[in-house]
């Protein structure tokens, strides 16, 4: 749905841009093509790495690690699993929803989701390329720490 809106927007603006200035449009597209070419090796590496990780670590394993009554240990494990893996939304949410229904703790799941989204060990090389080492490390550490704050607050509000 969202992707459709994105496509419609991109196509419309592309047509408008082409009708206004062909050369300029070409220049812009060429620029983003170059960016894409530069980033492609990393994109592909990330995708394959995720594939390997998810095939080795099954949802059942994750369930055992961060499932019900895993407490603080579970939270730490959830945070580490969430930071290291990069699970796309269409896999992650059905997984967390299943864990939730089978009695998984809100705090563990919140920490898992938040780190999953905001901390990226696999994507770190790409981030460093654009932001530099220091910014990337600090951002990821802070995001990691803040995941625990989020989880604890959610535990307070929702249970």
């Amino acid at each position: 749905m969202f992707t459709v809106i994105l496509y419609i927007t991109a196509t419309t603006l592309l047509i408008v841009s082409l009708s206004k200035d062909k050369e300029r449009t070409k220049k812009g597209l060429k620029k983003s093509c170059d960016t894409l070419k530069n980033i492609m090796p990393q994109f592909l590496s990330i995708i394959l790495t995720i594939g390997i990780m998810l095939s080795v670590l099954s949802p059942q394993d994750i369930n055992i690690l961060i499932g019900r009554q895993s407490g603080w240990v579970g939270m730490v494990i959830a945070a580490i699993v969430g930071s290291v893996t990069l699970i796309p939304g269409f896999v992650a949410f059905p997984l967390t929803a299943a864990l939730y229904k089978s009695g998984g703790g809100i705090m563990q799941l919140a920490v898992f989701i938040t780190t999953l989204m905001s901390v990226g060990i696999i994507t770190l090389p790409v981030e460093i390329k654009y932001f530099g080492l220091k910014v990337s490390i600090i951002r990821n550490i802070l995001a990691f720490a803040f995941s625990f704050v989020t989880a604890i607050l959610m535990g307070v509000f929702l249970t």
Binding site: K31, I138, T150
Partner: protein, 176 residues
């Protein structure tokens, strides 16, 4: 050719690992290929519109306007716009970095760029809708309302800690 190989050396290394997996653990190996293909398709679907918009933004958006809206003196409006821009996106976090670079070249404030990246990672609308429908709307809304102040705090701390150092490093020639 050699340059191309060099660029893809890490990728080829992972392909090699995957081949080993297929040879010795066919189950795990083929499952990993399945997952990779699924992810690859998702990426290929999302990449064209994002990069078209990125290219158009690059040549059309006037620098003065971006500086005014999201630059050093943009204040609350800049914060709002950065979060909104990051949230109205789709695609994985690593797609956000090239966009962030273009914003930087247009004169966007550093903390706003960080905010944009943080928003892209945690408050993406398609993700929120998915989260709400699978985890319940209370869960989604609670997380969202904790995370919005959270990403603002994180972005400002990162900017304060790295002020003027990495900021200058972060420029066009970086992504080679």
């Amino acid at each position: 050719m050699i340059q191309l190989l060099k660029k893809y050396k890490f990728f080829l290394f992972i392909v090699f690992i995957n081949c080993i997996l297929i040879a010795f653990f066919p189950d795990v190996g083929s499952k990993s290929i399945d997952i990779s293909i699924k992810n690859l398709i998702e990426m290929l679907i999302i990449v064209p519109p994002i990069f078209i918009l990125l290219g158009l933004f690059d040549v059309w958006a006037p620098k003065e306007l971006i500086i005014k809206l999201m630059g050093e003196k943009s204040g609350a409006l800049g914060i709002f716009l950065s979060i909104a821009l990051g949230s109205f996106s789709a695609g994985p976090l690593y797609a956000a970095f090239p966009v962030a670079m273009v914003l930087k070249n247009k004169g966007c404030k550093f903390s706003n760029i960080l905010l944009f990246v943080c928003a892209w990672s945690t408050t993406k609308i398609p993700m929120l809708l998915f989260e709400g429908s699978s985890m319940g709307w209370a869960f989604m809304l609670t997380r969202l309302s904790i995370n919005i102040p959270g990403i603002i705090i994180v972005a400002y701390i990162v900017e304060k800690l790295t002020y003027n150092k990495e900021k200058n490093l972060f420029r066009k020639g970086e992504a080679k």
